[in-house]
């Protein structure tokens, strides 16, 4: 028993390196979590951007937070995908019948989600820098942005865990992510919500993506964040707690 607790970190690193190999060996994953968001960014900046009046000079700066959220929403769908495959293939059961710290089987997927999303975020920010993204944010603001993005990733990761554990088919395991990927389009991520019809605007103003995007944008542009950041954090924490509870229920149903 003691021996197994002692091995938690070594078991965790085996699980992490395993799933990270899955990420890097899947062209499909790399395209969806890094190349597609960058392509979206280019599309918005160089095609639509000219026609969008945001009231700010630098549209690259304006749309970057939304692109980051799209990347995370795409990224976590692969967490559900990898988890579902593990459940199906029997490797989950193999791990669970071994003398390892059992919790690392699930937490390995969660940690992989955090690490791989962090990598794709960094790649996208580097690409944004190339096309003109500039930030006046100080270290503290950047840390706050990293904190919000980590919390957002973690919250959606637990949503993905629910899907990965309880889906009956592969399609079911990943389908939940499509609305999440779409959500930034009906928010303040790419156009100011003032330009939307009343009903759409009411939705856009009150959904989590708008709050999160506005908070990140303000932080990156060195503007005061006001109460918005608390609304953003409340959304992230709220989703995180609820998703975690349901994910644990789904996990207990699967594991003796």
């Amino acid at each position: 028993m003691e021996a197994i607790k002692k091995h938690f970190f070594s078991d965790m690193s085996v699980m992490l390196s395993r799933s990270m190999r899955h990420v890097f060996r899947s062209m499909d994953t790399i395209i969806k979590v890094a190349i597609m968001p960058i392509a979206f960014m280019l599309l918005f900046v160089y095609v639509f951007g000219g026609a969008i009046r945001t009231g700010t000079e630098n549209y690259v700066n304006y749309q970057l937070p939304g692109i980051l959220l799209i990347a995370i929403a795409s990224g976590i769908s692969y967490t559900a995908y990898r988890l579902f495959l593990d459940m199906q293939s029997g490797i989950f059961e193999r791990f669970h019948s071994m003398p390892i710290a059992r919790s690392t089987v699930l937490w390995g997927h969660v940690l992989t989600s955090l690490v791989s999303n962090a990598i794709s975020i960094i790649v996208i920010i580097l690409a944004a820098l190339v096309i003109g993204f500039r930030s006046s944010a100080g270290v503290l603001s950047w840390l706050a942005v990293a904190g919000i993005l980590t919390l957002f990733t973690l919250a959606l990761t637990w949503v993905a865990v629910i899907a990965g554990l309880s889906a009956k088919t592969m399609d079911g395991a990943v389908a939940f992510s499509f609305p999440l990927i779409f959500l930034p389009f009906i928010s303040s991520a790419f156009v100011p919500t003032e330009s939307m019809p009343t009903v759409v605007r009411a939705f856009a103003d009150n959904q989590p993506v708008t709050a999160i995007v506005d908070a990140i944008r303000a932080l990156l542009n060195g503007q005061p964040v006001g109460n918005g950041i608390w609304v953003a954090l409340a959304w992230c924490l709220g989703i995180l707690v609820i998703a975690y509870v349901f994910a644990m229920l789904a996990y207990k149903r699967k594991v003796a």
Binding site: V14, R21, S89, E93, S97, A256
Partner: protein, 253 residues
């Protein structure tokens, strides 16, 4: 330690309203090959899952290598290895990476060496650095069993190890199982093929409608039937023998 590797008494398990196991009793001797026979859906996999700590029983007792599966699951896991019904290998990793991963999870110091040895032993050295997704069914099963042997567990569970394999692949698995038993490992095998049990097992138990209806050695089971009459029949080669002769595989019988 006791001479019995597995002891099961009055084991019961229901799923919702279906009673799958209605009081199962059996013992498995250390170092023997034990075959659990039964039709599809008889509850063989349920028994394997309970014994490998993947599923909780409703009632009864089950001890593995002297440890209770419910109160001492960590000790049970320490001494067993499971090869499930579906090859539990990582498709994205190479054969070598799969073995090294398991060796690391078993906290062995020389994981690379362990992997090399098993690759050689299972004839996978040439395919060692290829992704498992490109392996044939037989190779996959061999890797699967090799992964179960990492760390030399005393007791190995093989849940329908030859289902879905071609005759060649099946013979390979049989050979491996025999070698394991010769090396002193206890093998718990489930199968729906009577011939498989006949070929391999020291002890056979037949699971039917949630209970073990017969158990014993093959010789003991044979005495349950009327004595054999001697008849002379011209022996025709079976299609399988013809197939194996043509593809040039020697039958090891």
């Amino acid at each position: 330690m006791a001479e019995t590797a597995i002891q099961v008494r009055g084991l019961k398990k229901s799923f919702k309203t279906t009673e799958v196991l209605k009081g199962v009793d059996f013992d498995v001797e250390k170092g023997s090959i034990f075959a659990l026979l039964g039709t599809n859906g008889a509850g063989k996999t349920t028994i394997v899952k309970i014994l490998t700590t993947l599923l909780k029983k409703d009632s009864g007792t089950a001890t593995v290598n002297g440890f209770d599966v419910e109160s001492n699951p960590d000790n049970v896991r320490q001494s067993i290895s499971l090869t499930g019904q579906f090859a539990a290998v990582d498709e994205i990793l190479t054969g070598r990476e799969n073995l090294i991963m398991i060796a690391k999870l078993r906290h062995l110091d020389n994981s690379r060496q362990v992997a090399d040895d098993l690759l050689k032993r299972f004839g996978l050295s040439d395919a060692a650095d290829r992704k498992v997704s490109g392996y044939s069914g037989g190779m996959r099963r061999r890797l699967d069993i090799a992964m179960s042997l990492v760390g030399n567990p005393q007791l190995i569970f093989l849940d329908e190890p030859t289902t879905g394999l071609d005759p060649e692949g099946r013979n390979e698995v049989w050979k491996t199982v025999k070698e394991l038993a010769e090396g002193g490992t206890t093998v718990f095998l489930t199968t729906q093929y009577l011939e498989e049990a006949e070929q391999l097992a020291d002890q056979i138990a037949i699971l039917h409608k949630g209970r073990i209806i017969v158990s014993g050695t093959l010789a003991e089971l044979k005495t349950l039937f009327p004595p054999a009459k001697v008849e002379y029949v011209e022996k025709q080669p079976t299609l399988e023998e013809i197939f194996l002769a043509i593809v040039g595989e020697k039958e090891e019988k």
